[in-house]
Symmetry: C2
Subunit: 406 residues, 2 copies
């Protein structure tokens, strides 16, 4: 048996789609394929903000890897990756070691703290099922405590969110919908609760059309969100954040601060000696690392430039899923001795930011703007299409957002 | 208008039943009746352990005072009692003061710490809706944290309960039923979770027939409860309890410690200068205080002796509800110039301890022992009878435990 060993690290969007593509295009005789993941489930990172807000149960967001990956064809190892040695072609796991002939790195993102004092220790971040579930419970716990305090402890029922990018805005929108429920569950008067979004840049949803941004901000302000734009977070403590605008500082008392302002590639990649640019590997057009012909990178650990804007493409699920097609194709070529590797070409079909429930904003087909219900339907359609691609109709029915119209 | 002022403090079992009885037996011309309560709802203290375990939502346990008290007949004041001056016949509230001609004290219980180091600061107690809800969320929050820790932090998923009396056992039974749900919700392996009940006395459910106690302990041990009988709690810290048995000390790591071992009367009563015995007023047979002819005490703030056993009756809902009948009768007598006050005679119809869901143990009709489903049905029947008495069929249908047989 001289089958090459293909090892895929991570079962996020890029990793699991690579595995699913390979199990379709390759026979067991062609290669031995191993998928390594910390958990026995895959989750949709783009839904985690709903789990964190408590508007969607996390079991809707995750699915058993077993449900979409055929464990007869693909060897699944549930373990945590500690490091990669591309010279000896080995991967160190918490409980063992794996050798590879071809490696696919899909280890996802980490929060970037930008060196802000106290974020590491005191901020909550939306990173995975565990941390999203914790945020939901953290907020609930503080609401539960409010009526047990003698004085009025507004810090318990003030929620601060750092960052008005995609995740920050989508999360704040879900929270705005959740707060009335929290008030009812915990006997807290709605008017006492504050939901504050702090953004260093001059606008929310930077990069979106100003008309769409205005729509989003108006809708969220109507629901009680307070925006603090052009405002830096200087420090985060156990029960407050200190912000600064125009050289004036303000302390906002909050026991609920969620940092949603920045992500970077998994630090294991850089620590393993791969060339990175702000934590991501500047991959070749065929999605291999600059230095190693046998190592591919998919998803948030990779960075590719958009030649039109001369800026990197943002790390999205859409691009990770498309990368997986290219990686699977190129692996098939290499294993079968083919020479012609495909270059990755992203096809941005549209970008939609959910504003919760039946509301959203977005751009599709390059310049068509969508608002409200039509944008929301488009958002759910995109999510449903992914589930179809990943696991067919069965998975769509099980995990899809089928309440598209209400 | 020379109507006397009747003021009832507290809308627990004794207070609210006194109010409901008076609104039936007295006309508005006879007396002005005022009911004071901290919240605008009444709750069933005997169900709080279910709310705390998370097996029953607290909205099932509470009901709007408005639903059973006619605010046209009874003046409702939502406020917190700070102190009573029986000499000047005034009650100080947080936001005002009330004068009375007749007073009914129904201010309920407080946890008794027995001077154990750290209980005040670190133990959770089942006292009211707010604290029960907090316990539910506290346990959930620690379970949510478990998978975010690198090392195995068993303290997060160990639950300690102090006391194997009525509340302690009923609470542990609900928790034993809840833990499988918690394990599923938070991805925690069941075998890692510990549920430990610590009791200083030599037996659980002291006072119950040994056969019933054995049944209860066997059932709970089957569900994974660890009993530590004859074991003193010496100290409670933020993340542990220190227990001692036969002069050997053991530290049990737990972030979830609930103290369910002792209650005493509301400290306001003693602080207001009433004669008390271990925090309760040793009332006369007509339920007035020893010193004041115009002050009645109902429920947990009163203590009456059982002449058969020469020990005080335990403070139960059953007795509080019966006391309210006597107090209402005697007030009617006094207001209408009658001389003959009734003496209180408790009628113990039965005592049933729930073991969760469809299981229980109990004694009815003096010496008939009940186990399992029949005891559970009896327990629910007792609870339902109270709701009937308090608010009629409408309330029974709204808040009753109507799933009696499964």
């Amino acid at each position: 048996m001289n089958r090459p060993n293909i090892v895929i690290l991570g079962a996020g969007y890029g990793g699991i789609m690579t595995a699913v593509n390979l199990q379709k295009s390759m026979s067991s005789e062609e290669a031995k394929i191993t998928l390594v993941n910390k958990h026995d489930y895959h989750y949709q990172t783009t839904w985690l903000h709903e789990n964190a807000a408590g508007t969607l149960h996390h079991d809707r967001t995750r699915l058993a890897i077993n449900d979409v990956v055929d464990f007869n064809k693909i060897n699944f190892v549930q373990d945590t990756v500690k490091s990669i040695d591309p010279k000896s072609k080995t991967v160190k796991l918490e409980d063992g070691e794996l050798n590879y002939d071809y490696l696919v790195i899909g280890l996802g993102f980490e929060s970037a703290t930008f060196g802000i004092d106290g974020i590491e220790e005191h901020a909550l971040t939306i990173q995975n099922i565990n941390s999203a579930r914790k945020i939901r419970d953290h907020i609930e716990y503080n609401f539960a405590q409010y009526n047990l305090e003698r004085g009025e402890r507004e810090d318990l029922i003030t929620i601060g969110v750092g960052g008005a990018g995609f995740t920050g805005i989508e999360f704040v929108a879900e929270l705005a919908n959740r707060i009335p429920e929290l008030c009812q569950e915990y006997d807290v008067p709605r008017e006492k609760v504050r939901l504050i979004n702090v953004e260093a840049g001059p606008t929310a949803l930077a990069g979106f059309d100003p008309e769409l941004v205005e729509y989003a901000m108006n809708r969220l302000e109507e629901k009680g969100v307070e925006f603090k734009l052009g405002t830096m977070i200087k420090k985060v403590t156990e029960d407050s954040i200190i912000v600064e605008k125009d050289e004036e500082r303000e302390e906002i008392k909050t026991k609920n601060f969620i940092w949603a302002a920045g992500v970077t590639g998994n630090s294991i990649v850089q620590e393993s000696g791969f060339e990175t640019n702000r934590g991501r590997v500047p991959v070749r057009p065929d999605l291999r690392t600059p230095d190693y012909d046998d190592v591919f990178v998919v998803g948030d650990c990779a960075v590719i430039m958009n030649p039109d804007t001369e800026r990197p493409y943002p790390p999205t699920a859409q691009i990770a899923i498309q990368m997986a097609d290219t990686v699977a194709h190129n692996l098939k070529q290499m294993v079968s001795g083919g020479e012609k590797l495909q270059s990755f070409e992203p096809h941005i079909q549209g970008t939609v930011a959910s504003l919760g429930h039946t509301d959203a904003i977005g751009v599709v087909f390059d310049d068509k703007k969508l608002f409200g219900r039509s944008a929301s339907i488009m958002k759910k359609a995109i999510d449903n299409r992914y589930l179809m691609k990943l696991g067919g109709v069965g998975l769509l029915l099980k995990k899809g957002k089928l309440d598209m119209y209400h």
